[in-house]
Symmetry: C2
Subunit: 203 residues, 2 copies
């Protein structure tokens, strides 16, 4: 079977008592003019107390003779009942640095062994709606290492991930192609592609 | 007063009965191996039935003699109790196309009058956590129009937005600077900056 066989069977309301992973929060705040107002927000319950981020996204670029390619994955995502095109990503474990989480998640999800080279600012996924956030960690992959030639991902029970690569220069067009084929585009990879497109129009 | 005077006063649990804008959902799904599992998701209650997206983000680039600059804004966001650096953005009104929403929101939030030039695939903000999504719409701004020389934003009650521009070529460094100054970086602008950075390393 493949990710495209996965499917939502039913969905319904989830009470605060029953929810284990996420929650709704009612916020009372003072606005910039001094008026007291309320706002509704969603949060994860899983962010470790040792960190200020929920997770990391990983930018892993392979230096191939034909040009640079980015490591992507296909993964079924129940909240949208679609298979997404995403960068490798995952939630923080307690005590980890963003770079440690990135190296661990990249190895678990794709099999690639890499070295962190750059870490982004904290990025907020949808800050009018929720507090979820991540850092993007850029990881360098030495393709001469035996581990990177014969990939051995270590997926958890219930995790189904197809790993592939796309030429960076074609990323925007590839995102449009993937959407036309019925895939969902994760915001990180879509906006990264958009940045590459805009840079090509800069000069 | 400015956005930096805004502040969370209190927060607590929000029940499904009380929530008006957002909700939690319990999903039962069949995974790619055929096993039935459950997942927790957050959703907006406000997506119009006429569309498949919650909102739009707007890439508005000004062609200045010194180089291209992107229109950004500072806005206090209660879910994270911080002032974000974001692209102009907003929720869809019923019956609108993404391009109509982008032109309307850009005018309301910044005063700039523009013409849509390109629309992204649907991008999912955090598809392991929620179903919220948007399209990015690129808007061309004719700086010779009088409306674009004397900006007249039309903010709603309770909306406080500071509009500014940043040179596109410096966007990654500027994101790091803004974070060092205590601002939160929205994922769209952070990842767009990352794409521009990566493109500069492509050749």
């Amino acid at each position: 079977m493949t990710s495209s066989d996965a499917k939502v069977l039913s969905h319904g309301p989830l009470s605060d008592d029953e929810a284990r992973w996420i929650k709704l929060t009612k916020i009372t705040y003072r606005d910039p003019a001094g008026t007291t107002r309320t706002w509704e927000s969603a949060e994860r319950r899983t962010r470790p107390a040792t960190t200020d981020i929920d997770g990391v996204g990983i930018v892993a670029i392979l230096d191939k003779p034909s040009g640079k390619e980015i490591v992507l994955q296909k993964q079924y995502r129940p909240p949208i009942d679609m298979v997404t095109i995403e960068v490798p990503a995952g939630l923080m474990d307690p005590g980890e640095s963003p770079e440690q989480a990135a190296v661990r998640e990249l190895r678990e999800e794709t099999g690639y062994v890499g070295v962190p080279s750059q870490t982004s600012p904290v990025m907020f996924n949808d800050p009018g709606f929720c507090n979820t956030n991540l850092r993007m960690v850029h990881v360098t992959i030495d393709m001469s290492l035996p581990e990177n030639q014969e990939l051995k991902p270590q997926l958890e029970d219930g995790e189904f991930i197809d790993v592939f690569t796309v030429p960076l220069a074609d990323l925007w067009d590839e995102c449009k192609n993937f959407e036309a084929q019925g895939y969902a585009i994760d915001a990180r990879i879509g906006t990264l592609a958009e940045g590459i497109l805009i840079a090509s129009q800069l000069s």
